[in-house]
Symmetry: C2
Subunit: 426 residues, 2 copies
């Protein structure tokens, strides 16, 4: 048995014990994790490890270094997230439906964990604690592989999580750190034992994972998010929302990439353009936009499908709400789409008709986030429609089973002309 399949086996066995333990044990472990992250000695150990990673990573670009760096505030947020999850009702065994098919024949649809997760994430060590916390609350075992720049930080944080499991009488092997990419590749090749792979990172990496794996993969392909300025848009709201959507974290998948505006929204457009300029955003306009703002760069066809991940925004005029919906249907990635409008009926039409995971009215696209949505964090954001959609928290890590408790019934006794089913909801 290869090293990785042995790890997967141990994860599966530990995950079973984790899932069958009473809800209080998982709650205790999350509380233990939250209080460990608040202890000065633990913090010192984690920050010291992070310091070693930081020292080794001196050549990295500033945004990467910012992701890599842990500090007291980040550790506080993590403790807070684990505490929030500890306070949430345990989802395991929740009954989704209970139906009497016949006397003495009762069907129950009950929530249960997926089983074993494998999560490959970027060089952001706080992601490790978030993901492990969500796995714990949902009763899943998890194999984690973070960016190698954060290796020391990840090891220190994994020790904290495993310590919290152990001190709560739960198997530490429900959370394991994979050592290198070759272990990830070996894991992707397994036929059995891993139920879901969560791939966080660039488009090429996600494609690499999908191509190698027969295991279901949760990943967002890309985030090409739009903000549409309706003619009724309030200029100051428009400027604030678009700046936040683009500038607060340009590398995030929920950042806006294209601004759409319709005739009548000129005041909102002008205020937005001025605010974006002050924030140092490069603007690429179509002909109609450049007729009003001639100093914008010329947008080409490729701009409407670009995920810049940088301080660049494409700007296009559309004829009306219908044309905005058509542009989004054609170029959007079904991630997050927003309208700025004082006209409620226009906003409600936008909310009703856009086919995307998240559709917002008068709010920044950057709210599309598991922590902000109140999910207690996220393992990632899904842009597909199957299973989870949008920010994936605890719910996205669960499935269900159909349990039927009978007393000897056979199917041949039921049907047209025979016994009818009762199908009575309990």
């Amino acid at each position: 048995m290869s090293a990785v399949s042995e790890r997967v086996r141990r994860a599966g066995e530990s995950g079973g014990r984790l899932a069958r333990a009473p809800a209080e044990a998982r709650t205790r472990a999350l509380q233990a994790l939250a209080s460990a992250l608040a202890q000065p000695a633990v913090r010192a150990r984690v920050l010291e490890a992070n310091g070693r990673d930081f020292a080794a990573a001196s050549g990295l670009a500033a945004p990467l270094l910012r992701r890599l760096t842990l500090d007291a505030t980040k550790l506080e947020t993590l403790a807070d997230g684990a505490g929030q999850l500890a306070a949430r009702a345990d989802p395991l065994g929740t009954v989704l439906a209970r139906r009497k098919l016949d006397e003495g024949l009762v069907l129950t649809q009950e929530r249960c964990p997926l089983g074993v997760l494998a999560v490959v994430f970027e060089s952001r060590p706080d992601a490790l604690v978030q993901i492990a916390s969500l796995a714990l609350r949902s009763g899943n075992a998890v194999l984690l592989k973070g960016g190698r720049e954060a290796a020391e930080s990840n090891r220190a944080l994994a020790d904290v999580v495993r310590g919290a499991l152990g001190s709560s009488g739960l198997p530490a092997d429900a959370v394991q750190l994979l050592d290198d990419r070759s272990e990830v590749d070996a894991l992707l090749g397994l036929e059995k034992g891993v139920d879901l792979v969560v791939a966080r990172g660039g488009k090429e990496f996600v494609e690499h994972v999908r191509a190698r794996s027969r295991i279901p993969v949760l990943a967002h392909a890309e985030g090409v998010c739009h903000v549409f300025l309706h003619r009724s848009a309030d200029p100051s709201k428009a400027a604030g929302i678009v700046v936040d959507s683009k500038v607060s974290y340009p590398a995030a998948c929920n950042a806006a990439e294209t601004l759409l505006w319709e005739p009548g929204a000129e005041a909102a457009l002008d205020a937005t353009v001025a605010a974006l300029r002050s924030a140092g955003v490069e603007l690429r306009g179509d002909g109609a936009t450049r007729a009003r703002h001639p100093d914008m760069t010329v947008a080409t066809g490729a701009d409407w499908d670009a995920e810049y991940g940088a301080l660049i925004l494409a700007v296009a005029r559309v004829d009306d709400l219908d044309a905005a919906l058509a542009h989004i249907a054609r170029h959007g990635s079904q991630h997050t789409e927003a309208i700025v409008a004082e006209d409620r009926s226009a906003a409600e039409r936008f909310l009703a008709e856009v086919d995307a995971a998240c559709v917002f009215h008068d709010a920044s696209t950057r709210f599309a986030d598991g922590y902000r949505f109140g999910l207690g964090g996220e393992v990632g954001i899904g842009t597909g429609k199957m299973h989870a959609r949008g920010p994936v928290g605890v719910d996205g890590l669960l499935t269900f089973r159909w349990l039927l408790r009978g007393s000897g019934q056979v199917s041949a006794d039921y049907g047209p002309g025979k016994k009818p089913f009762l199908h009575e909801e309990l």
Copy 2:
């Protein structure tokens, strides 16, 4: 634009109209479908078309002919299914969660259709009406391709469904019949426009579909279902359940393929073996089973993973419940697993620990079916854990969207040291 992409476009547009129509319109269409299927003139037309298919299919094997044949009872069951779905609450717009993130910033998680489905099904024309009914209730457009042996029946039934849509003011193009396999292959190659492919049919066909498509595929790979006789099993229940699980429809994916028994269950085993023999089932035993029933064929390693789809059953002795669980974990296909036991705590352990879509106590594996479960039919049975699991009815054809209604909020104002989120459930 190719013929099939034009059809997909029309389906998408019609699906949008179907989904945005009031719930009453979808209910009316289902009622219209139910009453059309009860009208003598409609029945005569459908049965006549089916007769033509039957005449052309004279060379087919008896089980295939049975699937192909429509009769008054089958049409009654279909009318009944459509009527049941008409009586169900409309799921669109159902709120799964509503949360106040802050004053004037409210998040709603709302159910919505997947969009456009493509369903490829075997030569069983009643499946067409079942699938179309489920699509209608869930607000999805559907492109259908049935087995070519049922071409005339499918055309007649599709006309009935499209008539019901039209007479209810809904676009008939929400339900379309594809003409041939080349249209299916062209559809699988599309990048956009189809949200889910449901592949019903043999393993090779499902693999063919998966390999060609970037669209998510819902399909059950196989059904290797077990019945385990606990030492507390009641012999007459055991015999009844195992015979029904194997004999009532051996080609079904929810039919049992392997019988497991433990020491102490000899009386249940003997009764079951006798009943299976009377029903003409070939039994293949392991050494321990043949020591008791020497006239069984010898089971080889391959038998424990076989989906016979025929009147053959493998029989193995396991040491105890733990060994039964281990055998099922190794050889089962996560479809449907059953225990026969008078001992409730053994049964509950089995229900708690088997990782499968359906886990039954003292009931035939053949109950794993959307109609029997009270889902108003099924588009298929899923053995994966993502999205739908087990029989897939209306719920499996839905996804959700996150709608956020704000009043100008930006993300940079929230977080540690800034504004806290309220996260108040509404």
